[in-house]
Symmetry: C2
Subunit: 246 residues, 2 copies
């Protein structure tokens, strides 16, 4: 709670929880300090508990997302979360690369999108250059679900380090938080010693659509342009229908 | 080829291939007889081979679909397939329950949708009644990927029969077609002897949105109504933008 006050008192206005609903004590403190509380879910059955925790925005995150993920796809998840969320706005996450996805998310009933992986290959990224190059070359199937980094299922860029854990006879990852304690030192050493071959990152299936470095500005502009093109397509199709009705 | 001629000569007009592109010899015979050849893919890297096989329509099927599936979600897959398909129309499959999905599929660049699971709980279904009841109760996470029925990854309603293959010490499923030869007799016997407890079916994650028996007519009407509601939402938002531009 002290740490929470520290960040809220310094002007942080959004607190997002990615691993479950917050206790009321914490969500109310966020509200008291004028902040918004964002809760992420990968399963429609968890929406009720998020609402009970007085969430302001629900992020419905599909299994195609990077990092910790559930089992249900964005396409299947978003309408189910929207149908249970009442007046609480829902953002779609997982698989969002551009404006077509933004339009699709709105069609599914979301109020907007929550993006992640697409920023990893921007000019402003803090991802090491060799990993950026791997991301640009990767296909969607190179973003694999593994329990290696934390013990919980998480989507990561495939590396020889992750593959070794999948070999016949390899031990199963330990449950969280033990697995993280087991591999964190090795993962830190990989980065510190710049062992390019086994360096990876959390990334979603949109990695298959990330094929060149762009500025963050261009990512945003292209998302808007693509969204407007879809909107125009829908408007034209509505006009055609209205004409054929006459 | 004889079997193909037999069905084409009897008026079948669409031949869909779900497990890979057809040889040119076969796709051209379909065209010669006035038929359409539909190819299903779960990976954008396979689009080129589908185009080479002179496909008329590509179905981009996400991993949330029922039956044999790949790894990539509909949300991530469809735009990547559309971008590679040129003038060949693309249908989105996997996770399609209603008109919101239809609109989302069009936003992603598809020309339409290909549906499957939603028909399993219609009044006109041939699925046995006890399995229909299981489907109505099931959540999206009850549609699990398994290699048990065929040896290839396939999404199925979770049953104690499938669970037994996941237990510690259980043998791994054999590669196709051996696994099918191994379990087909057992699967037939389960249905013949009406062993309700272990009866299942191929089904996609949309099973979580199937909560009552509807007529096929209602499924179609509701899809259209929901689609029109989304279209109106987009048209209104475009009008608002036009107004605020003045």
């Amino acid at each position: 709670m002290e740490k929470l006050d520290l960040v809220l008192d310094r002007g942080v206005r959004i607190v997002a929880s990615g691993l479950g609903p917050l206790p009321l004590e914490i969500s109310r403190r966020i509200h008291d300090k004028g902040g918004l509380y964002v809760g992420m879910t990968g399963d429609p059955r968890h929406v009720e508990r998020h609402l009970e925790s007085e969430v302001d925005i629900i992020v419905a995150q599909g299994m195609e997302a990077g990092g910790h993920v559930g089992k249900i796809s964005t396409f299947c998840l978003v309408p189910q979360v929207v149908d249970r969320a009442g007046d609480v706005p829902v953002l779609a996450a997982g698989g969002v690369a551009g404006g077509r996805h933004l339009a699709a998310a709105l069609a599914l009933g979301a109020q907007g999108v929550w993006t992640g992986s697409i920023w990893l290959t921007t000019r402003e990224t803090d991802v090491p250059e060799p990993v950026v190059q791997k991301l640009l070359r990767a296909s969607s199937t190179d973003a694999v679900v593994t329990r290696v980094p934390s013990g919980k299922t998480s989507r990561q860029l495939r590396t020889p380090f992750l593959d070794a854990w999948e070999e016949d006879g390899a031990p199963k990852p330990l449950p969280a938080p033990l697995q993280g304690m087991l591999v964190n030192e090795a993962r830190r050493a990989i980065v510190e010693h710049d062992v390019v071959d086994v360096m990876g990152t959390a990334v979603g299936q949109v990695v298959g659509m990330m094929d060149r470095v762009k500025s963050s500005r261009d990512v945003v502009y292209q998302m808007v342009e693509e969204y407007v093109a879809v909107l125009e397509m829908f408007v034209r199709s509505a006009e055609l229908e209205a004409t054929s009705d006459r």
